[in-house]
């Protein structure tokens, strides 16, 4: 049975976005790393800002990190982003910027799942899990480390 996802999905505008989400679909978290100077750069871009190389390898990174910062989006001012309106019942949305472990400490944006808000704070350890939201899209989600798996 086809699984559909009603919320805003990636637009695949950024040159590395297809690759990022293809890896997530395979349940792998990979970040572009410059083959010349080994710098991690995320979001992906064409040229390495450190050595000006243009060859990248998508390196698997730890699915462990800490909360870099976060917010609880209360659903104000939807008109400012007409392409990405969310249905009112989806709010509040917990947005988390996660600093991953490992070289370069790359950061990704994700959501906190399962109502862990009371455990959430800057610096808290989180694990990244894979959430298959539809047949062709997997999103990374964060769980505060040590909290129980729902369902």
């Amino acid at each position: 049975m086809t699984k559909t996802y009603p919320l805003p999905v990636p637009r695949y505008y950024n040159r590395g976005s297809r690759t990022y989400y293809d890896h997530l679909r395979s349940h792998e978290l990979r970040i572009p790393q410059c083959t010349s100077c080994e710098r991690f750069t995320f979001p992906p871009q064409l040229m390495c800002p450190r050595c000006h190389g243009m060859d990248w390898e998508w390196t698997e990174v730890p699915r462990r990190g800490v909360v870099h910062t976060f917010t609880v989006v209360h659903g104000f001012e939807p008109r400012a982003v007409p392409m990405f309106s969310w249905p009112p019942e989806e709010y509040p949305i917990i947005v988390v910027v996660v600093e991953l472990e490992g070289p370069g400490r790359p950061k990704i944006v994700t959501n906190l799942r399962d109502g862990d808000l009371d455990d959430l704070a800057v610096g808290v350890a989180v694990d990244i899990e894979f959430h298959d939201v539809s047949d062709d899209l997997t999103l990374p989600v964060a769980r505060v480390r040590g909290t129980a798996q729902a369902s």
């Binding site: 976060f70 008109r79 990405f84 947005v95």
Partner: protein, 391 residues
Amino acid sequence: MSGFSGATAIAGYGETEYWTGTERDQLRLTLDAITAAAADAGIDVTDIDGIVRYSIDGSANDQLLVSNLGLQDLGFSVEIPFYGGSACAAVGSAAAAVHAGLAGAVLVYRAFSLLDMTEFAKRNSASVWAMQAGVADYMRPYGWLSMMDTYALTFESHAARYGTTTRQLGEIAVAIRENANRNPNALLHDVPLTLEDHESASLVSGRLTVDDVTLSDCEGAAAVIVTRADDAISPDRPAVTIRAAAAGLGRDPSLNWEMHLFRDDPTISPAAWAAPKLFAMADMTPADIDVAQMYDCATVNVLLQLEDYGFCAKGEGGSFVEDGNVALGGSLPITTSGGMLAEASNHGFNHVIEAVKQMRGESHSQVDDAATCLVTSSIPTPTSSLILARA
């Protein structure tokens, strides 16, 4: 002094009233502000020989202005990209052009209408920059939707590092609202705000409330005329010279605007890199500034700028505002028109106008004997700033 410090001046300004939701004609507003600015500068409109504008795109573009105003020999016309960070860079660019002899009377303006919040916002989300940078791929699908979310993320980072409180943000909101309550042209002129009101206001994103973020859907226009300082001398009022201008993207410029939150320390804004250049050109220190028109799209951004421009150490912005420094009568009154929080939102050009008023002694929240005024544009990236002085 160095660069073009003191060589140019803001010879005149004009502005309309501000409204919300009236669907006024943006071109009409712009022409009204420009003719007022030219009259204030004591020049004929057709003496304008340069234009600097800053986007988002609007119906009042420079081609339309040239044809409507009947300008005969426009020799300098540039556009500074990127919204709220650009007002001071636009004035700085005009000053550099005048100083270099490229033009003698340069118009800088900003018009705002509902179109900016609707049609142009759609284009903004699909702009080449937003597409390439990955906003639509790595942020929007997770519910990071608006600039309010960006500021809330910034605040949590600052609060975690330095113990900054929402009540300290409230000090900024209240100080700026009190200024608006003295300014009849401010949209929130008759809406008082207390610290208690601020603490109980509706949440927008994270712990930021409606009183922490800019007004929206504003309409209105404002314009200034930049000339050589010698051409701006009037027997009727003090001249307002441009003592310094600076702009900056800060370090690691690949992480622009919202992606600033991907930096290791998002509490340090690009103003930290613009500020030393600015004060060096003016040959001043923060202690020499009498009043500051801080860009206030969000209270937390004011807090970061107070630190990054050196009025207090990094992390001490909260206690700085709690000690009453930024209210009228304090050591550094800020955003004396009511700013974007309470006067009108027009990407910070009202801050430039208010700085001129302070230097001429015309503000509704006049700082006694004010002779120097800092003006800032939005953070994080890019940003820009000015120091104006009463000559």
